[in-house]
Symmetry: D2
Subunit: 386 residues, 4 copies
């Protein structure tokens, strides 16, 4: 990530606008830090609040010029699309139910889009948005940020390289504790299915787990048998899902997510076994990829350590032994997207290694998975095709 | 485990006979080492081979007198039951299909029994054996040895003590790699369903995972939705099972076992979450119990470390920081059973802490779980009550 | 780190110039990423090469305006000091032997300074620079970046809070493998004592280990008995140092650093024991702080987890379970320095929690430690006072 | 360890007597469990107390016949040496100051000896005992039990096999917390230098650390510069030692031991770096040997896992993934000694792999190391040859 491809191609940074992520939002700050880290973007416009005064104050607090602090996403898109020096990329980090609308508007105006996950709340919206992205040829980057970790990319690259052989078995889990107590969580909108989506746990973290599985293995979930529900008494929204998976190549899988495991922090973990070996990765120790080859000593792979493949090397900024974390993984998506956007705008071919960021197809598959899991659960765990 | 209760109650060791576990058997040596470690047993008789000459040679190789080396389990039971100084306890470590027959014969003769798992291959046999044990009042110890680890006992004791609150979520997995390659494994009889049972992976390790879950939580699996099968091409016996669980108190569970994860050693792992905290234990690092209480720093509990409860303290022979392993866990079952047997034979009340070894009820529940999982899998994953 | 104090105080970012860190320099990119992450700085000027043409090309590659790409650090300082919109802060990341000269020049011109470690190569320079910083009252931040990790700050805060009791024992080690092979390393100037300093291993990483020890414990090394030398045959510069320490409060210490441990990555590790408990931290897993209190279960502390003290909370941008790494630790120093600089320039009192970045006193103590260790080694390990 | 070599050679078990290790002694129970595990010994005589009545009661409590429960070690040796069926091996686990006397008496009577460490309290005694062992040709096994762990043996075997190249750097530490509080520990005799030896921490655990270092590397400590003393206020006996080492091949070393690190359990840890790679082993997770080869991915070696060398394979009873612990490591010494004793008594050549148990030479070297470290400390850390 050391050479600034955007400077090279465009002679300047990409102009970025943000919608959502106002004061107190952890994910808003994260997006902006991710955008800054590798210096491919200049933040030029923001819609941080629907109150004009608060939007202006908040925008100034993050260095945006007064006149480009907008009271709504729509106002931002409309105004920026008309400026000669307007934003070229829009990053959307609003509640789930507005992703679709803002993304569609941005695409209509020819703006490239970076969008928080889940892509949409409904399958219908997901399909429409996916189709629109395909039709426009614009860049659409969905921030399934865990795929940005160097060791996740190393895992994918090892699978692609055949080092695991034929994939036979997968297990993915995402265990959190933030909703272990009864009552609503920190963000009230999430508790409203109309805004937070049909299955809170599946939208929030189930889609991450599903995407991680697809990213590393290159396989699709073909069928799912699931139970989705709540383990905390008197809770309406989902805080738990378990599932069995049949993968597109016949491999079998186990899937388990919850936000109600008391005391647990952010336990996204994956295991993949193939005919030649197994790997294991755990988000809370992201710089470690365990590799257990058949009939040879177990290995501990680290970013930029011996055996690092190019896809992983690209995702690291630093020599081995210097841990990169969540921010750098998130930034890798922003930087990959920037390189793709700059190449498109410069009419150049993008570096193939920059094209592994999650896109609209990944987003659509995620929504399909949520829908299939919920449907299966409603039918007493019947195997359900995606 | 420091005081020898058997010496105290009987003034001597219990007389033990072993059936099975001849030369080359890893589990045979393990049973005998477990029996020796705490010095509650004297090995007096053995049926290690059906060939009289080999049985004698093998028996002498482990220190058994020539005239008490028998060519069959039945011959052993018949002869020892008639000797005034005959064996009082019979340990059975033969292939699965003969557990039932030897155990029933031993019980008929008034001998206490220690038996390898799975208890039987069929549910019918399991029910009959369970009923027989209940009727006789004899001790029946099933070697679900993982329940003997100090930190597994600590986990159970913490649950019983309410330290986890109401149990809401469980995950148990048992991942091995011994059958990752195509072809039969080391013990040919296992590949024959008539001898190895209806589901090899479920009998071999699924019952361990199920028992561990029941032991720690004190809950039963009420319903299971499962897929049981094979992930290695051209394999007839099962090497994989995944399941979703509904526990007797409404908690939800995830279950995942395989013997075909290339490069993995012996990954039995369990997580239990309650309203007040979560625990995690991994057999490959058995001296560690992670405890993550709600709203307090995560803890690492160790054998005889601060906070050790009596059930765990009993299971450890040594001060904190000195790892005990698989042998000691196995020996804990032998020693608990010995204390229960000696108490019964001395007409005394056994120490309540000695009565946590797996018994015929545990064995029966395990066979019921296997049957329900297989039935569910055959019905496309339908939720099946045990 | 969420509120941008610099915007609040100055209404804009601080203007930053960089000297050194040109193409291919890992530490140069790191400094600039650290400066960007929390958006307190605008990079306005650079001297990346002594060749005017290459300096311009490199500067443009990182987004610096043509006319502010200088062919030398001195040219940069002279020109920027005269501009009304000139740089206010100079970051120095040149080879060690020029730190002194550039830092002194910048201070003379009233510029605040961020400087790579070790502060200088000689004790004389260190004392002069330290005195100059004290006299000017300008901010001088030395990038002992490991003190920026949230869990290192938590460790310091716990010691300050008395949670470890009286400190009795410390152990610090820094084990790397980059120089395990014979021959020069990646940066040739380091092999030249005139440029790389009197003891390469001590300047490169020994000062980090020493600073970490002082930072966490709040104690000074009073006396050292050391052996400094080379373990790789035919090497002139030092690649190894071992030492025993007597701390200012009477605590005892062990110190061990090397760059020639084959296969090891970046093993900076510290243990501190007090009368009430012990802590352990390892840079390769920086989000973990082990805390072993006397007579209570061992704890695993994590950033923003339960028990986080304010000094650590300030150093984290994100909720628990989302690992921050080397970049964020480095950025914490830049951000702390920015807040102190902005407060000074706005004639405000800085947030006390922002004032824990390493400064000229820390730098001087580091050089004193190197000098004392080398002197002790030359006198056959005699105890030598700092 | 599966074949019982003693049965094969002698047709029976070795007759073992124990001196010391009475009720409440953790090490006494450990010795006896270690002797039982692999079934090479029959315990025939004991001197557990100097009070005849208590000796008899304690002896019976562990199954020793009344007439062979002796009121003193000397009485035991005298009587057993005269019986035709008398003990052949004497295991000594008394306070340190009596090791010498009992061992000498046993050797005089032609008995093989297993002795707790440290071998003696004084260098004079150590030299005399060492000479006596050499002269008699009897087996003398010193229970530096940590050398019995499979992964410690694997480490030694890898060094012998050249897999680490030329050894350049070692670090060994033994950190415990049992004496973190002021006041005497559990065993009062240890606080008396006449009984516990000239340096409690060095005798108790320093000799273990030193022996482990010598065992794995095959090198001797040539010179030591040390500080030995107390970090807990008002303590007379030593609870801390730090040292720098110069090894016999020129490698450098760091050594650090304490019994006063609050909250720490039993942290014996060693690192060895050679020209081709580094290894790390930690007693609290004994089934893991980290191996970091130069320029290849780091490995995690496990007992009986891929790459296991014969010396390690011999030390394990079980397939990979089934942890063996402290007991099995201790038992490995007993079993090795038994095989050597049986071979000697049967006038056979012992299996070379059985001859790696610590012996009188190791014991003498340990006492020399203690003496040199204490002398160095008294001379202000001067480099002192052993």
């Amino acid at each position: 990530m050391s050479d600034n491809t955007v400077f090279k191609l465009l002679g300047r940074r990409l102009r970025l606008a943000v919608i959502g992520g106002g004061p107190g939002s952890f994910i808003g700050a994260m997006h902006r830090q991710a955008a800054r880290l590798d210096d491919r973007y200049e933040l030029v416009a923001a819609a941080l609040s629907s109150d004009p005064e608060r939007s202006r104050a908040a925008g100034q607090g993050i260095g945006v010029a007064q006149d480009r602090c907008y009271p709504s996403g729509q106002a931002l898109i409309d105004a920026e699309a008309q400026r000669p020096d307007g934003a070229e990329v829009v990053a959307i980090m609003t509640p789930n139910d507005s992703h679709y609308s803002f993304a569609m508007q941005a695409l209509e105006r020819g703006l490239d889009v970076i969008c928080d996950k889940p892509m949409t709340n409904t399958l219908q919206e997901a399909e429409a948005l996916h189709a629109r992205v395909q039709a426009t040829g614009l860049v659409f980057c969905l921030t399934h940020n865990y795929t940005g970790y160097p060791m996740v990319r190393q895992a994918k690259a090892m699978v692609m390289d055949g080092q695991l052989g034929e994939i036979r078995l997968v297990q993915v889990e995402y265990v959190q504790g933030g909703r272990a107590k009864a009552g609503p969580g920190r963000r009230a909108w999430k508790e409203d299915p109309a805004r937070g989506g049909p299955s809170l746990v599946m939208g929030d973290i189930g889609t991450h787990a599903h995407n991680l599985l697809r990213f590393i293995t290159g396989l699709e979930v073909a069928q799912v048998a699931a139970e989705v529900g709540s383990i905390v008494p008197d809770r309406v929204t989902h805080d738990y899902a378990g599932a069995m998976l049949r993968m597109s190549n016949g491999a079998r899988g186990s899937f388990w997510v919850t936000q109600a495991a008391a005391g647990v922090e952010n336990g996204l973990r994956i295991r993949v076994s193939g005919s030649l070996g197994s790997i294991e990765w755990h988000q809370e120790h992201p710089q470690v990829l365990q590799f257990k080859p058949l009939d040879a000593p177990a290995q501990v792979r680290t970013p930029n350590g011996p055996g690092t493949l190019p896809l992983a090397a690209r995702a690291s900024r630093i020599v081995a032994g210097h841990p990169e974390g969540f921010h750098e993984a998130f930034a890798n998506l922003y930087t990959d997207a920037a390189d793709a956007i700059a190449a498109r705008r410069a009419c150049q071919t993008a570096d193939p290694l920059s094209l592994y960021f999650p896109n609209a197809t990944d987003g659509l598959q995620g929504i399909r998975f949520v829908a299939a899991a919920v449907a299966s659960s409603q039918q007493q765990g019947a195997w359900t095709a995606l």
